[in-house]
Amino acid sequence: MVHQYQNNGYQIALDVDSGSVHLVDDLVSAIISELGRDLSLSDEEMVGKLSARFEKEEILEALSEVRSLISARQLFSEDIYKNAVLDFKARKTVVKALCLHIAHDCNLACRYCFAGEGEYHGRRALMSFEVGKKALDFLVRNSGNRKNLEVDFFGGEPLLNFQVVKDLVQYGRALEKGHDKHFRFTITTNGVLLNDEIMDFCNREMDNVVLSLDGRKEVHDRMRPFPNGSGSYDLIVPKFQKFASERKALGLQYYLRGTFTHYNLDFAKDVLSFADLGFDQLSMEPVVAPKEADYAIREEDLPEIFEQYDLLAREMIRREKEGRGFTFFHFMIDLTGGPCVYKRLSGCGSGSEYLAVTPWGDLYPCHQFVGNEAFLLGDVEKGIRRTDLVDSFKACNVYARKECRECFARYFCSGGCAANSYNFHQRLTDVYEIGCELERKRVECAIMLKAALAEEEPEK
């Protein structure tokens, strides 16, 4: 399968199943289109089809180039992965990551919160140190030979329970030595309670911090107010700037992460507002909301959103050339390395390798399923009880979704998000169509960015 498209003046051919990317002219593009319909076309037949638009010699020359790439399995390569990936999915898995819901409580009242303003549609609660310890013990016990274990302190707002975060990091570090493990801790915060002590601690202990900001002041304050309705932007931006600049100086990762909604479809301005504030590791996610929500992304919003991604990509190229570039999570793509094909096709790992833990120690397939009792898997003390549910999640992969078979982006999204599938279609192995449209557009922009920036590099 070859996916062809034009973007920002580049004509791009992505060989979907090998991952090769080619910049082509109009003639090659026409040849690839014809071969896409009938790969067995002879030279004479191809000349017959294109001779009204191109010279015969040119057609044969270009066709020869195309055929050499087909021979090298860089065009029209085949998907030979299905059996290997299904075997891979069926293997005995270990738990390698936990999302610890350290606080089901929040000091903001974000309008789009999937956690119901931090409570996950349940009661307000903070995780105790005892429950957290059992969660880390559960992770170590169920992680097999895997050395690196990931733990995200999530909420609600985890800084509402910061003492337990600190105690659990200390406990985790003590566990590392005896079990030949290494914890990679991360924390996601709205920034309200950030102070110097917390930043210092995170700079010592957290592999990554995710800082929630939605963009321009009016956009952020509309969706992320305090419970009394007042805006949170002015309080948190200076703290995030300090935090990000410290982490940058230390060579540490952070993400400034926003959510855009129907109310700020011009979200490229919000991403650029981050860059203008000095941030350089950026992410902006489309809100995932019930169709009836006033702020939900709708199908008719897609053309404008696509334009915004194009605009953002072009501006990123300009700023990169001016020496003030930044990274944007969804445009980060590694065309020559990156994950292996098993990872690319086998889904996100929710429900088997990645689990969420509630403040009282219940296990769910991921943070987005927390609060839905039908997906309660077990608890950190007794372990997994619903192995049937784990098996259902293990069966989530690209080959389980018929829509993915014809989609060029399947090696980049791994079949999409099971929670989104369930929320929109009450099945784990369906797709969330708007999410798919956005993913495809982002992949196209990401590849175009690579093409544009490659032109700047000196010829080898």
Partner: protein
């Protein structure tokens, strides 16, 4: 080549032979938490 400039000549087929160690990060532990993106993740072997 005159008509084609190859930007990346990758072979995902090769990673079928060498990959599958399972040491990589789970997808949602990064910045997203509401989608599924794997194309931008790093292979754990390449971090060593």
């Amino acid at each position: 080549m005159k008509h084609i400039k190859t930007l990346a000549s990758r072979s995902l087929q090769e990673s079928l032979k060498k990959g599958g160690c399972g040491e990589c990060q789970t997808s949602c532990q990064s910045a997203c938490k509401t989608s599924c993106t794997v194309g931008n993740q790093t292979c754990e072997k390449s971090r060593k």
